[in-house]
Amino acid sequence: MLNSTLELVVDKKTNPNVWKVDFFGNLDSYSLQTKKKEILDYIDLVEPATLLFDFTGLNFINSESIGLVLHISEKLAEKNKKLVLIGAKKNVFQVLDVIGAFELIQHYKSYDDFLRNQGNANQAN
């Protein structure tokens, strides 16, 4: 049986331009009951322009959680900020891909890929 717990670890200091939130466990109906408010709060709390959800440690995501992630992305976009996903495992990636979530949210294989992309974008500017 799946372990229906979810831990969130926030890193605000390593990169001043990004708030990185690491997800460990499962995003399902059980964990969402306790963590939904905390996750939604990032919409208002995030200071830099980019909020990054690191899904390297995420084992499972259900449709309701996908809806939540998309909602956060939409709300951040209204504030000229963005949500980025990194490191989704194969099963999580597939579910997000099938739904079409990557039409709205960028995904990078790793944090280094994201940083490299940011570096290239800064150079272009």
Binding site: N91, V98, I99, E103
Partner: protein, 396 residues
Amino acid sequence: MLIRPTKKIYWNLLMVSLFAIAMALFLKFVLQIEFWPWQWVIVAFIGYFAAVILIYLINVSWPFKVVLDQVKALLTGRKYKKILTKRTDEIGIFAHFFNEVTTDLEKVTVDLEESKKVSGELKTAGQLQKELIPALAPTIEGFDIAVKNRSAEELGGDNLDFIKVGNSTYFYVGDVTGHGVPAAIVMTMVNTLINTFAEIYDTAYDVVVQTNRRLKTRIRATMFMSMLMLKWNGLTKKMTYVGCGHEHLIVYKARTGLVEATVSGGIALGMLADNSKIVKEKDVPLETGDVIVLYTDGITEARNMNGEMFGLERLKQVVALYAGQGDAQRIIQSIAKDFSKYVEEHVQEDDVTLIVIKKLSEGEEGRSSVDQKQARWTDENAVDKAETLPTEKAAV
């Protein structure tokens, strides 16, 4: 039943003893009645025990009977009363306990009645929703169609319909975020919108784009619906599909015996205000004997007792095994039987929907069936000789 006497009773007994002695002295010295000493002792003892019994009856037996009578009334379903007492001894504790239990019981009874009422309303809503899912799939010349659907709760989030408009028929299967009341409402809205726009527009693409546009403004930001829509044009004899972030489109090719699983593409309904640049209508080349399988993720994400998912690969293998054997009804029963055997008694966590569409030869009369009533997805008439795949870890 043993009740330890309280301090009060001891005090009472002492008072009675003193009273007995006082009575004896009164009889001897005031009334001048002569008693032998041993007669005094007997009188005193008799008086003492009489007093004990009287006190026991008044302080213990009678109050206990009062409490016991109310307990009996509660247990036998008769009317009972709260017990008023200021006692703090054993009987007082028993009485207070009885009062607490009956108060809690009354609260629970009210909650149960409310819950029954809500449950009744949900059942009615569930029945209304089931009636939205077609009781019969349309009979389309040249196609065998079979449907199986089972909700995880009273109200489901899986959505399907067949809409015949002129020479065209639309088939769609969809899955709303979550399940229960909110998902059922979204499902009903989508069903209504699709049925309406199918009458107005000529292509599945336009139906999907317009449905999405209206839906986005009316549902919660966290909700969406994945969907795969097929359209059969009876004039051009062409099948097309539009994917909206749904599961793969599975097609069994009779000529080769191979199963193709195509990513349906697009983006789920309700995620973007305008999906017109992302969804596309594509052809599904079909020959006689080919079989299309539409499904929701309740199938592929269902788990067995070891926690292993059924998975897309297993579904493809099962389709490859059975799609060449008989009509759509027989095929769907065989797939359902394999599925049921795999999940065994694992709790159904999501709605499950399966649609099998078999291409018949030109002019052959089609048949159709819809099954959303069976508790388990096995049927007495299912093929017994069909080979069942061994349980193995599904690729995740």
